[in-house]
Amino acid sequence: MSNERKKHLQNNAFKIWAIFSTSVGIIMLAILLIKIGMDGLHRISFSFFTDLPSRRPENAGILTAWVGTLWIMVTTAFFAIPIGIGAGIYLEEYVKRGRWASILEINIANLAGVPSIIYGLLGLELFVRTLHLGQSILAGSLTLALLILPIVIVSTREAIKTVPNTLREASYALGASKWQTIWFQVLPAASGGIMTGIILALSRAIGETAPLIVVGALMYVPFTPKSVFDSFTVLPIQIYNWVTRPQAGFLINAAAGIIVLMMITFIMNGTAVYLRNRWQKNVRW
């Protein structure tokens, strides 16, 4: 085979392999969505959202599940956001560059990769048992907050890094203190990136199942929580619960639940992408 022909074939082979690799992911997602849609779309109705769980699949709904998810999300955000942003500001604006700073940076990045079940075990020991919070929303949220903290910290740092030094200089030159400069100039300028990071962190938290099971989210919760000290369940756990039941009706419910969960995830990620695009357009240095 001539050299020219060989090069031509290699070129094409590579292109075909690249297209194939991309398609695999998309096709898998499409198959999942179509199967789930066929199984569960017809089950979605107003009553599905407002019914309590029940022994009979036709009457079982996700009310306690999505209300529990809401409680968990809000409480997790309440803890993770201020602490994460604060840590990000401290690491980016106050810590001197050097060996200690690098060690901190590596450790936080590593925390993001720790398996979520380990956070569950930590939460069980620390929040549920030692601090006597019991198997409550508070314990679950604190556990999830720890889990998503590295994501918030890293996004905050990345967003702050994009703020050019000339902005800080201009602020200092007018007599502003370090804190005023951060609060009035750096944070507002970095807000788009920080918000994107928060949304991505929360959308990760919304799907977490293992740590919440360990911390004690219940499988069968026939009531909606009234305070952060109540027991709870969340959407992924409710889905898991239904999948383990033998009746075919529950499998349909599970499929419907998955559709709801995916819709929420898509909306959150879509919002994050939209916000990021808007922010990048607005901010021209």
Partner: protein
Amino acid sequence: MEDEKKITSISDKIGLEKSDELSTGFPVSIPNKESHMNKIHSKAVHCWYGDFHVLRDINMEIKHNTVTALIGPSGCGKSTYLRIFNRMNDLIEGFRLEGEVTIDGKDVFAKDIRINELRKKVGMVFQKPNPFPKSIFENVAYGLRVNGVTHKKFIEETVERSLKQAALWEEVKDKLSKNALSLSGGQQQRLCIARAIAIEPSIVLMDEPSSALDPISSAKIEELIWELKAKYTILIVTHNMQQAARVSDKTAFFYLGELVEYDDTKTIFTNPKKEKTQNYITGRFG
């Protein structure tokens, strides 16, 4: 007379202290006008960035209400020297200074100096216009806000006055809430000047303020500097020698960290005493 009254009220509002008829801000007594009063003084100043000896033995005295140009080839320490006076070099790691720098008799590097107070009195305009990504109004108001001014009417009046002084008012008075980044380069730089003079500093440091601008904007800035001279003391670093000749009263020629010659602008450009100066201004190097 109207303006005099307004200046007094601004000084009171942001807690400046007045001495003599110049609001220099440093609380000083005035025994003898010929002494170190009313002057910016550098004595045996040396500066280092880490091991790099960037300024050597600078001795210079600048009188108030003058425009002093700092000229010289790139990298000769002009910007470093400029940034001493509002201690912006403190933001650079590894910076060290020896010698004495005083403004109206008060040591700029004294232990009890509050840097925020110093920067209120010594303003700065940077080489590349760096307006905040906020509205035009908020840009000019920022300096007042961070220094504790909250009175809405007062802020509005000060913003208008500063924009007028910076010869920008007519062009932006109908769009004060528009984002400052939507202005042209020349307008942005005039906005930065307005922002700097809004807090009524007594000294304005300009680091190549028109080098990033087109000739027409450049000329407007020069006009502005000439007008500001009546109220402020201005130090301007410039690469453009014609600009230095047009705009300044005195000129200082820096070469490789040393102050080669410092004299009246007219003398420097028509009859310099040192040969290096002569060579530089005739373009033989740099």
